[in-house]
């Protein structure tokens, strides 16, 4: 049994490192992204082997799903600037001129001591882990949820998650502050008109898949209290549904006016800050939830956060649209 498990891990790691190497050094950009998506999915399998299903969910939804879609859309826009983008589509010339070779060797030589230092540092760690699992289990009952990861994310270290939700909002504000990219209008049309009309197969796929995605998101949000799941995973699955609608050509950004989109994106952070301020006044400590109804407070917080995360990630995907000017 352990031999099989050991074999499984070995093959998984080999595949992971091989994919990473190929993704970073492939000849053309498109295969780099395809390999990176495969790397993300293999990474989710690694999280499963490390008994971290919460992270596997997050990695599958965000790491491989949304990041893959983001990268593909970015590559399409990069190619959309065909005219003036020099190192563009097809097979990009492999860096074989002299100074590129020199840089490669130089950086390889420089990084060897870094690698050995890190390996030495990691291997010098004592044999058994010294973690906080004891403290977590001791206080799990008072946290209002039974899934330890959700307890850490939304109660013990809720302040991290508060700042986390603002990182997402900041990314959205930053992208909208850079103004819409002039040419993204033309790219959207290429996808729809020139080559494929809105094919009925895609529409049926969207009609069937989007409701399932939304149900799965609600399920993940609910199950987060006692099993792997939670706000981030649910939000990213919901964002995948919005991305699917955007890809199928639904004019999402016209449905939601700029202000409504902003209010939705801001809902999570605002609820988080107001709950933090209220708990400071009522309970005497920032983000302190009274044990008896900590569960319901966390669920409320997660629901609003999932909504905001979904809207923000979808807006990050469409990039550049939705501001007032």
């Amino acid at each position: 049994m352990t031999l099989l498990a050991w074999g499984f891990d070995g093959l998984l790691l080999l595949g992971l490192l091989g994919l990473a190497w190929k993704a970073l050094n492939s000849t053309d950009l498109f295969s780099a992204i395809a390999l990176f998506i495969a790397f993300g999915l293999l990474m989710a399998l690694v999280w499963v082997r490390l008994e971290a299903p919460d992270i596997a969910l997050a990695e599958a939804a965000i790491g491989a799903g949304l990041s893959g879609a983001l990268l593909l859309a970015a590559l399409a826009r990069l190619r959309g600037m065909e005219g003036n983008v020099t190192s563009n589509t097809g097979v990009e010339e492999a860096p074989n001129n002299i100074d590129a070779r020199l840089v490669q060797w130089l950086s390889a030589i420089l990084l060897l001591p870094v690698l050995f230092g890190l390996v030495y540092g990691v291997l010098s760690l004592p044999g058994n882990a010294v973690g906080l699992s004891a403290e977590i289990n001791a206080n799990l009952a008072a946290s209002g949820v039974s899934n330890p990861v959700t307890a850490v994310l939304l109660n013990f270290r809720a302040y991290d998650t508060l700042l986390e939700v603002f990182v997402l909002l900041l990314a959205l504000i930053a992208i909208w502050s850079m103004g819409s990219i002039q040419f993204n209008r033309s790219i959207e049309t290429i996808g729809k008109t020139s080559l494929e009309t809105t094919s009925s197969v895609l529409d049926t796929l969207v009609y069937l898949l989007v409701p399932v995605l939304m149900m799965v998101a609600a399920y993940l949000l609910w199950v987060g209290a006692h099993a792997p799941g939670g706000a981030f995973q649910a939000g990213s699955v919901l964002a995948a549904a919005c991305v699917l609608l955007l890809l199928a050509g639904w004019p999402l950004h016209r449905l939601l006016t700029a202000m409504r989109l902003r209010l939705l994106a801001v809902a999570g952070p605002v609820v988080f800050v107001s709950m933090a301020a209220y708990s400071l006044i009522a309970e005497g400590a920032l983000l302190q939830f009274p044990p008896e109804h900590a569960g319901t407070l966390i669920l409320l917080l997660e629901t609003v956060a999932a909504l905001s995360i979904a809207v923000t990630l979808a807006a990050l995907f469409s990039g550049g649209q939705g501001q007032h000017e």
Binding site: L195, E196, S199, V201, L202, T204, L205, L208, L209, V212
Partner: protein, 100 residues
């Protein structure tokens, strides 16, 4: 009686594995996109169906078995539509089907 169910599970799992092998061999050996697409989505989906059937027998509750079947239906739906989209796109982009 228990052994019979286990026996069935074993057979189903082995069959599923064989179909997966066929799917992957098809993916590697076939000459053009369309045949690879065909091999991948058809063989793998059947393989997955067999494995899910094998696992459903072992499942402790109907709910779990139901979830397994739901996953299979979703994969079928996704596989079918994506293979059509890819094939349609490939044809439009001028990738000619392979002729011996």
């Amino acid at each position: 009686m228990i052994a019979v169910i286990d026996l069935f599970s074993v057979l189903l799992l082995i069959a599923g594995a064989v179909f997966f092998l066929a799917g992957t061999l098809g993916l590697l050996r076939f000459p053009d996109v369309y045949t690879r697409l065909h091999a991948l989505t058809k063989a793998d989906n059947v393989g997955l169906g067999l494995i899910i059937a094998g696992l459903a027998l072992q499942a402790e509750s109907w709910a779990v078995a139901g979830k397994l079947v739901l996953i299979w239906l979703l994969v079928l739906l996704a596989g079918a539509s994506v293979s059509y989209l890819v094939a349609n796109g490939a044809l439009k982009r001028g990738i000619r089907p392979w002729k011996s």
